[in-house]
Subunit: 226 residues, 2 copies
């Protein structure tokens, strides 16, 4: 139930930093997420062999929010270097937007994950006002998952009550951003995303930190599920 | 009043394609825009010297839509390789979102351009319902410009009537996407973005096509402004 965000600190060479952490974590976590800055800085060709032979989740978190053709082209490029899931914004709308991306994802075997709420305060200004419609979009296009923040468990509960077990809920915001390990899982999320709390330490401590986080998740789940 | 979108066709090596077209166009257009696929594919380090000594617009069109810290980090990286403008989505909201990005843009001398409407049909589903609020956000953060589609001149007219001359309006959608050269300018836009209609030809014809487009803009403007 743990996905690790491999977003390197600024001024750190992404390639080595990402590869090293991926290697020490790949057998104990469910997947990895790589965000915009690391991809923008180095492109994607260096990722070409990273996720080879990896059967967990490899998520490109570009938060795609362009017209359908551009999102579809980008998703195909990401698939070609080994990502098996992409995150896009439901906000861009279905027609000639998510519609086009979803078709390419289905064809190429890419898991589509739609943002339906975000962890920062500004998410309440526009995005959260459309949660119902965004979840409808996710169901309409057969989205594999949705993103909803661990920092707001009531939002996760609400989404779970709407989608049942059909759609995975992925929750960022655990650790440095404030949510405790397991809190989003207790609220109904399938995966928690943790980044800095695990990755921003010396390499030799990374695996131990991930183990600790997995333990915390389990304890919390035992408490909430009784 | 012409900005050229340097988005290479899929399967074409971006670096040479972009650089060649930039060189033959830089003295006759107002600026360039580079989109997500070219940046994702090759990263940004190859762009490091492209816009050196160029005093026109160099716009990174990643349509940023992440939390403020991630957008700000990305904008700084883009500035460091020569971009002087970035496009972001107003829909992520102000608080801890556009607020953070805008502060970094001001500090780093980056022109901030906010998407307030898009050219695809899906834009009407969510984005266009918030045009007033998005324009308010643009004014609130002192955004240099906003993006609104040439394919919907009534939207451009409406935005111009709201913002007066304080904010630039940048319009994609001219050419292959359907709007005629000059139509967005007549409606009140400051710049029209043209991509494929100019760039998808043999290199030796690119400059001639751009000249033709500039002429078409002028003619149309003469007609509409009397």
């Amino acid at each position: 139930m743990l996905i690790v965000a491999l977003d390197p600190p600024i001024n750190v060479g992404s390639e080595k930093w990402v590869t090293e952490r991926y290697k020490v974590l790949r057998d104990i976590v469910k997947g990895f997420k790589i965000g915009l800055p690391a991809i923008v800085k180095y492109g994607i060709n260096w990722l070409n062999n990273l996720f080879k032979d990896y059967d967990g989740l490899s998520i490109a978190d570009l938060k795609l929010a362009d017209i359908g053709d551009i999102m579809a082209l980008t998703a195909t490029m990401l698939r070609n270097v080994g990502f098996n899931a992409v995150i896009a914004h439901a906000f861009v709308g279905y027609e000639k937007g998510i519609e086009v991306l979803a078709k390419v994802c289905e064809k190429e075997g890419i898991k589509l994950i739609l943002v339906v709420s975000m962890s920062h305060e500004g998410s309440k200004e526009f995005i959260d006002r459309h949660i119902d419609e965004f979840v409808d979009t996710a169901e309409r296009v057969g989205s594999w998952g949705v993103v909803a923040p661990a920092t707001r468990p009531n939002v996760i509960q609400y989404i779970r009550s709407k989608v049942g077990s059909k759609i995975k809920i992925i929750s960022p915001g655990v650790g440095v951003q404030g949510a405790e390990p397991g809190a989003a899982l207790c609220a109904g999320a399938d995966y928690e995303i943790v980044g800095r709390a695990i990755t921003y330490s010396d390499l030799e401590k990374v695996r131990e930190l991930a183990h600790g986080l997995l333990e915390s998740q389990k304890k919390r789940l035992l408490l909430c599920r009784g």
